[in-house]
Amino acid sequence: MSSQKKQLIRIIAAAVFFAAGIVVKQFSADISFIIFLVSLVIGGADVFISAVKNIFKGQVFDENFLMSIAAVGAFIIGECPEGAAVMLFYQVGELFQDYAVDKSRKSVSSLMDIRPDFANVKHGEEISKEDPYDVQVGDTIVIKPGERVPLDAVITSGFTTLDTSSLTGESLPREKEEGDEILSGSINLSGLIEARVTKEYEQSTVSKILDLVENAADSKATSESFITRFAKYYTPAVVIAAVLLAFVPPIFAGFSSLSDWVYRALTFLVISCPCALVISVPLSFFSGIGASSKNGVLVKGSNHLEQLAKAKTVVFDKTGTLTKGVFKVSRLVTNNCSESELLETAAYIESCSNHPISVSVTEEYGKEIDKSRISDCEEKAGHGVTARIDGKVCAAGNLKLMRSLNIEADETATGTAVHVSRDGKYLGYILIEDEIKPDAETAIEKLKALGIKKTVMLTGDSKTIAEKVAEKTGIDEFHAELLPADKVSKTEEMIKSEKKNEKLVFVGDGINDAPVLALSDIGIAMGGLGSDAAIEASDIVIMTDEPSKISTAIKISAKTLRIVKQNIFFALFVKFAVLILGALGIAHMWAAVFADVGVSVIAILNALRILGYKE
């Protein structure tokens, strides 16, 4: 039987005796005394034992000891029902707290359930069950329907649908087929697949997420540290006040009133434990982090939740954050040649390079490149590519490249344009576009609705493209043609001009975003396509790369902070009210315990509300 169940039985037994005592008190005070004593012993046995043990360890301000004094003290001054009631209510409160903490620990550890226990590794024709830690990159694994994908891999045979909700918060199953990447931690739904492992377990997605979530609870928010410090002083202060209250007034009012003042002092002891605060504040942040995870947003620490709630400025990187980061040919503008000629020449030249823009051109061409026609490939950073195609000198790149070759290109080309020349003749240019993410506009809308004062976009791309993106998405301000160092200095500028309680959020994905992510108040990285450096430097990771999740994260942080504040004020208010009423002799001991337990229960329930956050 679990220790919680045992405790519940003890409490019920004590409660029964207590009730019996109340009834018997009507007839015989002496017998009821014994019954209440039995109730006290059953209900308080573990408390008394702990109290004694802890005194020997030098711990005087231990809540077990203080509660024991309160209960026994009540008996000594003749208030037996009160003494028994105090112990009973205290135990009920403790049990409920244990239950609530257990429940929230379990619900976050159900996130931990994404940990795969085994991998089916194929060696030749045989399949063996192995520990995911032992599987090597390049091994082939088999994943049956219903099983969890154990490692990051690429499908080599079969097709299926995957449930990625534990990684991304998305409930819609994803279709995957040969050649598609699958992530560890997702659940294989429909088909049997074979896949080639691409990352070792320790580098796999599921490992990284587990690490992040586990470490998240370690970074404490300022409210948490405040409460811990408060608790350190609160208990001794209340106890000292109790001692003074018990013995000082009788000196003036006469010793006959001693038991009255002792009673009031015992009431103080009952409220000397700040448990409601010490539990509910971390619990709130823990729930906030859990709620974010469920929505596909990984928050690396409670302090980030605190900061995010104060966000007033959101700065975006463009490529990969607001746009998909995947370049595509959008238009061909020719100059005395056919479109197919322009494209073919460009594709052959660009096949020399791996730059995303070059890749988009060769992809648009689609046909196989005959390498024998190409020679003398040369890539010039910041300019473009030159090569000899069929012996003729050809070039593909920006206006700088064309000017350096003395070729008159179309200077009116706006946006990202790849100008092409062959044999000194200008063939025209190809326009490349980067698709804006479908939810980028909604993302900005939602942020403004939340009260974000300024949205800014920083990019190294051209002004025309930046303008277009800014217009389409509704961003307030943008700065284009920036070098990575410019992004850093621009962000530093904005942070300096911030008001005291307003925070700046930077959202990015690339390697060059890492320094800006690190220096912003809150750095958010795109977790799916984002670079490891960005994810490492950030405070929050969005698993689905959707910018609209930023507002989700802000809403959850705001809710969390709100509930933390509610709990702190409520708990402090009730405690001080009871202290005053107790000192004045208005509040009874059992009422004080009731209020204290009640506050704990309400604070904990309030904190658990955060877990239920839904879009």
Binding site: R105, D218, K232, I279
Partner: protein, 73 residues
């Protein structure tokens, strides 16, 4: 180096805070966090000092909550 432990049976939030403060006072400890919610304790210190620190930390933990089991994890 950083080492993590699970404090199985950690029941009292106040005790977790007191433990953290007490362990932080051990001179060789660079940083320590005890999270009541995840029952995890993470200690940062030099590799040579670790075994000694772990012993002292375990004593401190037993002092505040004798029923807690300190496990690797």
């Amino acid at each position: 180096m950083k080492k993590s432990f699970r404090l199985v049976g950690l029941d009292c939030a106040n005790c977790a805070a007191k433990m953290e403060n007490a362990i932080a006072k051990i001179p060789e400890v660079k940083k320590v966090t005890v999270s009541f919610m995840t029952t995890r304790m993470t200690i940062e210190a030099n590799e040579e000092d670790m075994p000694d620190i772990i012993e002292k930390a375990t004593q401190i933990i037993k002092k505040y909550e004798p029923d807690v089991e300190v496990k690797r994890g």
